[in-house]
């Protein structure tokens, strides 16, 4: 498919016959190294969903993977534009009328903005959020912490703190984070955005799948669930929020051999989808 003159890579996974009313699932990938460390897991989950009768479309946003475009030009706005184009393409090719948005990490926020209550689309059948990054600032800080930790794991002393790296990013315009260029323009484009705000007023069902070793929801996830469960100010329905604890270490933060994947994550996702349809 093409967006604003740039060819985008996408894969449409055909569904097995039998559920013609099931929505099409659109995966919105993570950013940076997580786009590739979570790649296989996305493929496995997509195959699991197609076996249940859900078509799935996965795509690479501009500046990512096999799509065209420069990573220097990626912003929240371009990510949302690409996600909406992917959803339109998914509906057109699959013939399905509604969309389940599956957002991965920071992609969860992109999905929520692209298809949430403020998008004006009205075709969201649900949201699946894999270890969502509720606040972009926390996500970018975590990326930098991972960079520092990788130095420690390699027996080197970190040469800066996270705060010092953020100052450096602000001054220099970009930072080399494990071979990826973290751009100041990307970070700034997320200023003020939050998952809670993007899903405010959401009436579609939501699955939040936490991928952490802990036995209960992390505070940020609990706050998001609380917010979605709160009665809408204007009255009416509210979202049905389900949560799943995938109690594994988040092995996707660095490249690994073999690539990280989680049968549990695939299972909770497909079970939720099965119940949805």
């Amino acid at each position: 498919m093409e967006v604003e003159g740039s060819p985008l890579y996408a894969v449409l996974h055909d569904a097995v016959p039998g559920r013609p009313e099931a929505p099409v699932i659109v995966h919105v990938h993570a950013l940076g190294v997580e786009q590739i460390t979570l790649y296989r897991q996305e493929v496995l989950a997509a195959r699991g969903a197609t076996a249940l009768g859900f078509p799935v479309l996965r795509y690479h946003a501009r500046g990512h993977g096999d799509s065209a475009g420069s990573s220097a030009d990626v912003t929240l706005s371009s990510l949302v534009t690409d996600a909406r184009a992917a959803a339109d393409e998914a509906k057109r090719r699959s013939g399905r009328a509604r969309v389940v948005w599956l957002g991965v990490r920071l992609g969860a926020l992109v999905a929520a903005i692209a298809g949430g209550p403020s998008s004006g689309r009205g075709d969201a059948a649900g949201f699946v959020l894999w270890e969502p990054a509720a606040k972009p600032a926390d996500f970018f800080r975590q990326q930098l912490r991972t960079l520092l930790f990788s130095r420690v794991a390699g027996g080197l002393k970190p040469d800066a703190t996270v705060d010092q790296l953020l100052v450096r990013l602000e001054q220099e315009g970009s930072l080399d984070v494990l071979g990826y260029s973290l751009q100041r323009s990307l970070v700034r484009s997320f200023d003020g955005a939050s998952l809670e705000a993007a899903l405010a007023g959401c009436r579609a069902p939501v699955l939040l799948a936490q991928i952490e070793a802990r036995a209960r929801l992390a505070p940020a996830h609990a706050a998001l669930v609380g917010s979605l469960n709160a009665p809408p100010a204007a009255g009416g329905e509210r979202a049905t929020v389900s949560t799943a604890l995938v109690r594994e270490e988040p092995g996707y933060q660095l490249m690994s051999n073999p690539a990280w994947s989680s049968d549990d994550l695939t299972r909770v996702t497909t079970e939720w989808l099965d119940a949805l349809a």
Binding site: L178, Q183, P258
Partner: protein
Amino acid sequence: MPWRETAAELDRAGAEQAVKVPSPTGTLFGIHTPPDPTAPAAGYCVVLFTRPRAHRNRMWVEGARRLAARGFGAFRFDYHGTGDSEGPTSFLNPNQPYRDDAEAVLAALRARFGYQRFLVVGACFDARTALSTLAVKRSGVEGMVFFAAPLMELDTLVKAHADRKDWRHLLRALGNHENWRALVNRERWRYMATVLGRVARGGKRGARQDTPLADSFVEHFGALVASGARALFVYGESDAEYVSFQVAMQTVFPRLAPAERARFEVEVWPGDVHGFVNIPLQRRALEHTLGWLERFHPQPHTRVGANGPPQ
């Protein structure tokens, strides 16, 4: 500054074709970047062995499109059990390269696109798989860029790397509290135990003769020599994998006839090469690879043809 496509590269992006390759372990998925029909034809397809398919920071996506804009075909794909391909996922052991996958890819490129001559590129496991193509009969592989792969069984490599250390190194490492923090990692414990054992036993470095090259490397290196193909080997002097290459330089390389040895170039860069974990290294590796491959082009670009055509 991140890569920004030229108009010609963007055109190649739009021309890319998804390709399904049947293999013994399931259908493999790859992307063919056809050569620019307006560029002088190179007559080669460059197979980029890489995982994941785009690799870190999309460096081989850029490579494929730049090569195609120069008249080369390019192909990148997912091994079985990885990315978009079928098949079971397992640990990728460089000493057990996926030769069946590689053979299936070359066969598909011959059958579907008519390529007869290939250049192969890879790093670590991918380099070992690229090398294994030379053991395929009439592979058509004429050149290889080989980055920072282990050439020993992995347990042997740990021992060989430990032999680089001495008591002074060990004491310095023990005084660094970051190393203690790193011991939360079980692999790091195992490594430290091996280092301690090797240093404590002492002995003249290399005298133990217990760090041989892997049989699979020796076999595939022999196939490379017999094939007549040219090769560029690149390591970082800090790479753990470099120790194994040093053994190769002391064992299999000296046995080569002068004409055979002349076909192989060896470069050792400062610091680490393995993993391409920073952008300046990625840029250097990519530019160097493209420049080396350009020498196979019948009409090489003047900027990168300074070293002359391959003999």
